[in-house]
């Protein structure tokens, strides 16, 4: 396995293109942060790498499009996974036709409901963390995710997306309504409880 070029440098990890047993692959390596003490740094890197690999695998089992995990290296904080050929939803959403946009948002809502049905919390649902590939919306970066069956956790998960849409796609704020509409249909539990929770979280924020 050879490390080639870095294609993206995020806030906490570097993404580079690699090969895994002949397949084109992606390596996500969590970078040690010199601003925090080693104790916290080691704990976060190892914990997040392990948790992320586990959640991606479970999300796939729930029927959500995610990259296939090839290998996990906890000590160095590296996950090797399938290369997805596509574009970030963040970069395409504002340029789509209304119809396409609605259809994408419906798919997003369906996928979130599917992993929530299995108590998987993504932890950072933003449009930067979704890749449109083969007409499917793939979810990436489960690095802040967790397993949690509480309505609160699911509400917070969706609230992150709501804020991301408000800040990055502010002229298309109805996107979130389409997400919720499909979410309601696919979620096994009563989605209204989660939606009520989102409203509660909004009010809990300062000065709402």
């Amino acid at each position: 396995m050879t490390k080639k070029n870095i294609i993206y440098r995020g806030a906490e990890a570097e993404i580079c293109i690699a090969k895994y047993k002949g397949f084109k692959a992606i390596q996500k390596k969590r970078i040690p942060k010199s601003y925090r003490i080693k104790h916290i740094d080691d704990r976060l890197i190892s914990l997040r790498t392990k948790e992320e690999a586990k959640l991606i695998t479970e999300a796939r089992q729930s029927g959500v499009a995610v990259p296939i995990i090839y290998d996990v290296d906890l000590k160095n904080g590296i996950i090797t996974m399938e290369y997805l050929d596509g574009k970030r939803i963040k970069d395409v959403l504002n340029d789509l036709s209304e119809e396409e946009r609605d259809s994408i948002c419906t798919k997003i809502g369906e996928s979130i409901a599917r992993f929530h049905n299995n108590d998987i919390i993504h932890g950072d649902i933003t449009t930067s963390n979704m890749i449109l590939s083969n007409e499917q919306v793939h979810f990436i970066d489960f690095g802040l995710g967790e397993k949690n069956n509480e309505i609160e956790a699911k509400g917070v998960d969706l609230h992150v997306l709501m804020e991301a849409i408000e800040s990055t796609h502010s002229q298309y704020s109805s996107c979130f309504d389409y997400v919720l509409e499909e979410y309601k249909k696919v979620l096994k539990d009563d989605a209204n409880l989660v939606i009520k929770k989102i409203q509660e979280i909004v009010k809990r924020g300062r000065y709402r």
Partner: protein
């Protein structure tokens, strides 16, 4: 243009006088009086009484220190919100009285936006930063996007200053507890595991506060607890700031708010900025804490972009959110 700004959102009443010198902010004076409760946290009414007691003298002192005459003041600005109602009303009342007696226009401004603009106004090369605004009540990561200052991350429960103050009170420190906690933390050696709670770009502190209080009950050394609290909370704050910078693709970071005077927090954010080739900015301490100069400067920016307010519409707004302000003065 010379503007006088009155700040009164919480424990501080401040009067600042600033001058617009070819688009940059020149601070002529910036006087602050801080209400320090003898016991417990801020009582809004007591704080407002404190502000009412000192505002008249502060106005005179600030104008005289600025070496201007009241007649040379072109604009009166005040903190419209967010903040404690009685405190806001006291500052706004003073602003209205001044506006009417001097016959000068009045303008109410957003306190959180003022924290960001004073950095842009006074620091060279600080043009389009991500602001990490950390104070007692507020903890927000703010950046300009699509016509407004948007909140990319914020606390889901209590502000970082509030978290430190509450812990400080439990262990018997005086308000504000931040500086004493910083001193204690510098002597801490052992890291005690504390919850590190980030949800997307949002952050939570109440679980960590409870855990820290538990350590104190179990007789862990106060120095070690303070050290662990600072290391954990500041690392989380730095992380959400970095995430916002990556998300917005900005390469400037600015600190603001009272907690920005903590050396360790500055060091962490500066290191993060350095590691990602970004520039780091922090205003002088008197411009980081709640102050009148920043209120005055935002007043100048808004007035110059054509925004007007009548005295009869100069309401306060306790829940005035950062992202409610239409930012017409930013390119």
């Amino acid at each position: 243009m010379i503007c006088l700004g009155i700040e009164g959102t919480a424990h501080s009443i401040g009067v600042g006088v600033v001058e617009n010198v070819s688009g940059k902010c020149k601070v002529l004076s910036n006087m602050i009086k801080i209400y320090r409760p003898k016991k417990g946290g801020i009582h809004p009414r007591e704080a407002a009484n404190h502000h009412a007691l000192y505002i008249a003298d502060l106005l005179k002192e600030s104008v005289s220190k600025a070496q201007v005459d009241f007649s040379e003041v072109d604009l009166i600005s005040f903190s419209k919100g967010p903040g404690l109602g009685p405190c806001l009303r006291t500052a706004a009342t003073a602003a209205r009285a001044l506006s009417l007696s001097l016959n000068r226009p009045i303008i109410g401004v957003n306190h959180c936006v003022a924290h960001l603009e004073i950095g842009r106004g006074t620091l060279d090369d600080c043009k389009d930063p991500v602001l990490l605004y950390t104070s007692g009540a507020n903890t927000q990561v703010i950046a300009f996007a699509e016509g407004r200052y948007r909140v990319f991350g914020e606390t889901l429960d209590i502000g970082i200053g509030n978290c430190l103050d509450k812990f400080g009170r439990t262990v018997g420190l005086d308000f504000p507890c931040g500086p004493q906690i910083e001193k204690l933390a510098s002597k801490g050696k052992k890291y005690l595991e504390l919850p590190y709670s980030i949800k997307g770009m949002d952050i939570a502190f109440s679980g960590l506060l409870t855990a820290a209080e538990q350590y104190y009950k179990k007789n862990e050394s106060l120095e070690d607890i303070c050290y662990s609290m600072q290391e954990t909370t500041f690392a989380a704050l730095t992380e959400v700031t970095e995430r916002a910078m990556a998300h917005t693709e900005k390469d400037e970071v600015l600190l603001g708010g009272g907690v920005a005077s903590n050396r360790r927090l500055c060091d962490m954010v500066q290191t993060m900025a350095h590691d990602r080739d970004a520039r780091f900015f922090v205003p002088s301490k008197d411009l980081c804490i709640d102050n009148g100069a920043m209120i005055a400067w935002l007043g100048v920016l808004m007035y110059n972009s054509g925004i007007r307010m009548k005295v009869e519409n100069s309401f306060i707004d306790q829940r005035f959110r950062t992202d409610m302000v239409d930012v017409s003065w930013h390119d």
